[in-house]
Amino acid sequence: MRTPSYRSLRVWQRNRDVFFKLWRTEVPGFFAEPLFILLAMGVGLGTYVALSDNTDYLEFIAPGIVAAYAMFSASAECTYGSFVRMKFQRTFDAIIATPLNMEDVVAGEIFWGATRSLLTSVAILIVIAAFGLVNSWWALIVLPIAVLSGLMFSSIALFFTSLAPSIYSFNYYFTLFITPMFFFSGVFFPLDAFSPTVRRLCRVSPLTPAADLTRALVSGQPGEGSWWGLAIILGLIVIFFPLALIMMRRRLLK
């Protein structure tokens, strides 16, 4: 495998420039939806929900929403976003005719996906802090966690993108992978609701450790094995980051 160089930063810069140029069209979507969910589920549904440890339901789901939307941002960027740049705009073709190689391009895309996770997390974190739902300075550690979780979801997404025959393939990615994770990773309810078998299945989801860890940090009670989640996230990055590089080279440099 060839390794990416500092030049992947150039691809990151290109995506950053475009994002801040077009942020008016992109950002509202990523802001509005988590806010609606917080209101509908946290405030609305939450009135009827009593958690076993007496935590306020809004307080329970808020950190989960941070982790879930970090996932959505990175995943959307490195599936639809990357695919459009790769296939329709032929941006990758243009870039690899310069001193950058394919690994620089792919790494730059992944780094940008992780940055999107960070931006989303910061935004939602500020909102939930304004609601008084952040209890501890530990919450600042959520930001590096969002970057790592972004690297993980971007790498997985780009790996899938390297195999996707058409842009419609991403419907499968979202309906069969991202959406189930959204519902079954402990974002909306503790996983003890399920039998041990189902619970184990939910633990396979890469969002589970990210949501657990974020919740522990925001509530100010990290420890209790939450840090194991960090090991899972790092492990998945180590697997999928190189895999995305290798598969993209295979797909594009024939």
């Binding site: 030049r7 150039r10 810069q13 290109r14 420039d17 475009v18 140029k21 077009l22 705009q89 032929r90 941006t91 073709d93 243009a94 870039i95 690899i96 005719a97 310069t98 001193p99 950058l100 190689n101 440099l253 024939k254």
Partner: protein
């Protein structure tokens, strides 16, 4: 010194051989043309030269460097104008050039200067704030060339740079390419436009089925393969066709039959005698052009 040197280059895609043993030398400062029908292997060869595609066999050196070993250094000195437009539609005209120059680590201030002067050179300075989809096809093509020149490359590779352009723009592009050559830029030009090849290229290679089938200056190729007069005719009586063609061969004429039409290449001291003329209906005759050379050398593949 040759700026591009290729030896025994082969490119296979599975069972298909796109480039089948090409040796090539492109000299510094020349405009070298690569001609060939669709599927002849021109674009595949170019993709190998710009290290966008792994080579199956053989070696290519650009500026003395092996492309498999030093692709970054080579690409830093190379401008590529692709056949399919790949400008960045999320950016404006000027931003396209600035963002592109970042890939080459050109300092910001320098990049801006070069971008503005390149836009001026290609008569796009008034459109610098325009979005890419607001540009006409000709403007996009000019911008693609302007972009390829941001790194001040020694070698500019153009894949059919004037296809689909109106005559005015085509002439403007030609004029700019001639000017670039005057500044010492080496040009490698893939084209199917014979007028373009004739006007711009110092030397030409005609490719067919992944191989170079002829190489020389345009005049040399014309002298070697063009004969003095080309006669297009069909047999007056279809049933006598075999006899007529046998007679042509017997008289020392070179000829080809395409879709029932005979193309007779009449050499310097040759004439069609009365008898042959009576057997043929001559539809046209003309002095040979590069196009005839091209068709003669690549015709078979067109029929496949």
């Amino acid at each position: 010194m040759s700026l591009i040197k290729a030896r025994g280059v082969v490119k296979k895609f599975g069972s298909i051989t796109a480039v089948n043993g090409v040796d090539l030398d492109v000299n510094e400062g020349e405009c070298f043309g690569l001609l060939g029908p669709n599927g002849a292997g021109k674009t595949s060869l170019v993709r190998l030269i710009i290290a966008a595609s792994p080579i199956t066999e053989g070696t290519i050196w650009v500026d003395g460097k092996d492309i498999t070993k030093m692709p970054r250094q080579i690409k830093a000195n190379l401008g590529v104008v692709p056949q399919e437009e790949n400008l960045d539609p999320d950016l404006t005209v000027l931003e396209n050039l600035l963002v592109f120059s970042r890939y080459f680590d050109i300092p910001k201030k320098e990049a801006r200067q070069r971008a503005l002067s390149n836009l001026q050179f290609f008569e796009l300075q008034e459109r610098q704030k325009a979005k890419i989809d607001e540009l006409s096809g000709g403007m996009k093509r000019r911008l693609l060339i302007a972009r390829a020149l941001m790194s001040r490359p020694k070698l500019l590779i153009l894949d059919e740079p004037t296809v689909g352009l109106d005559p005015q723009t085509r002439h403007l592009v030609w004029q700019k390419l001639v000017a670039l050559k005057g500044q010492g830029v080496t040009l490698l030009l893939c084209t199917q436009n014979m007028e373009e090849a004739w006007r711009l290229c110092d030397r030409l290679a005609i490719m067919n089925d992944g191989k170079i089938v002829a190489l020389g200056t345009p005049r040399e190729l014309l002298a070697r393969y063009g004969s003095t007069l080309i006669i297009e005719a069909r047999p007056r009586y279809e049933e006598k066709k075999a006899a007529v063609t046998a007679k042509l061969t017997q008289h020392g004429f070179q000829w080809q039959e395409i879709e029932g039409m005979l193309y007779i290449y009449q050499g310097d001291s040759q004439v069609l005698d009365e008898e042959l003329r009576n057997e043929l209906v001559i539809t046209s005759q003309h002095a040979p052009t590069l196009e005839d050379v091209f068709l003669r050398l690549t015709r078979r593949s067109l029929r496949e």
